[in-house]
Symmetry: none
Subunit: 219 residues, 2 copies
């Protein structure tokens, strides 16, 4: 099942896309945002597989959303929709780290194909985008500025539920006392979980922990 979050400021557009997607048995639209900031909040909250995002949005536009996702290495694929049938944002989207780019004029088939492709880790760019990319590439723009998304390797360790919870809090730079309070357990227990965590991830301090967590996209 591919969990999708939609971000578009037009309810009608969202409803249309939702209808289209939910005809597919393997895709579920689990939440919707009407602006960029909300989109970021929702992906943190819902951990969807794919974010479908319009470029023109209040608060924060789609390119900025994708940039933020790429920068903070969030574990979600991004499919950018350009609602005004032009390719002016293709390069920007690629540079921002988008996994896919579609124009408004795309067919239903192309749209579904794009969702499946990005969900499975592949890229999908509409129409004759390769031409645009190549022309930019030879000019050196893409090669210089694109931020390629790192591939997720299978984890060489498995964390328990509690450990994941504690990892989250540790990565928020909380100390064991606060973690213990928050989870209503003894400080000693929090310590143990933290210790086991560090051991499983083979790190010996916070810096290494955060690096490892980023490497395996646990944050």
């Amino acid at each position: 099942m591919i969990d999708v979050v939609l971000a578009d400021d037009h309810v009608l557009v969202r409803d249309g896309i939702k209808a289209l997607l939910e005809d597919q048995s393997d895709i579920a639209v689990i939440d919707e945002a009407s602006n960029g900031k909300e989109a970021l909040q929702l992906i943190s909250k819902n951990k969807p597989d794919v974010l479908i995002v319009d470029i023109r949005m209040p608060e924060m536009n789609g390119i900025e959303v994708v940039t933020e996702i790429t920068k903070s290495n969030k574990d979600v694929k991004t499919l950018v929709l350009s609602m005004h049938d032009s390719e002016e944002y293709v390069v920007q989207s690629i540079q921002a780290g988008a996994d896919g780019y579609l124009l408004k004029g795309s067919s239903k088939e192309e749209f579904l194909k794009a969702v499946h492709k990005v969900a499975s880790g592949e890229k999908y760019f509409t129409g004759d985008v390769s031409t645009i990319i190549m022309s930019n590439f030879v000019n050196g723009n893409v090669a210089k500025t694109s931020v390629p998304k790192t591939k997720i390797k299978p984890l060489p360790f498995k964390l328990t539920k509690r450990e994941k919870q504690i990892l989250d809090l540790v990565l928020e730079l909380k100390n064991n006392k606060d973690i213990a309070e928050e989870l209503q357990i003894s400080k000693r227990t929090a310590e143990v979980h933290r210790f086991n965590l560090m051991k499983k991830l083979e790190v010996k301090n916070l810096m290494e922990l955060t690096n490892k967590a980023k490497e395996f996209q646990l944050m």
Copy 2:
């Protein structure tokens, strides 16, 4: 003392500028980069007051370097040198957030004046640049495309150079021992700086520190 880092891919140019600058008792060239990426690394490492940067450079050009510095709000003034006697990059430099812009044909006097101006927080743009800026402004180009430097609210605290260095390392989650080693000072000194930092920023743990640092764009 004004600490300067030079970034230019021509050793000869660097040597010339260095000679010129080091005649001044209040200016020290503390490091040199031969491309844009290196320049960024060096300013992180050395925390100079001023970066003098050529536009044409391999890896990353001068405009991109300045853009990156502006975006990440690094505490360094930027003086852009255009080595081909034209003013075509003035607007781009301003948009990128440069503090100064000089042409190759500038006199020694003008050059030194520019360095001092930007070091003291003022702007310096060569020749009749105001004309260029104005003509662009009325055409709407600057207004439309400029990346305005986000207004930094005046900090309710002031950090010394050393404290900024230590802040950077603390934000990298390094411990005092490692910081001390990296900066070649005693662990106790690192502790003091860290302590003073936390007090100035009115925070009591790492989590609050990072939040505050984000709030005031120190990271």
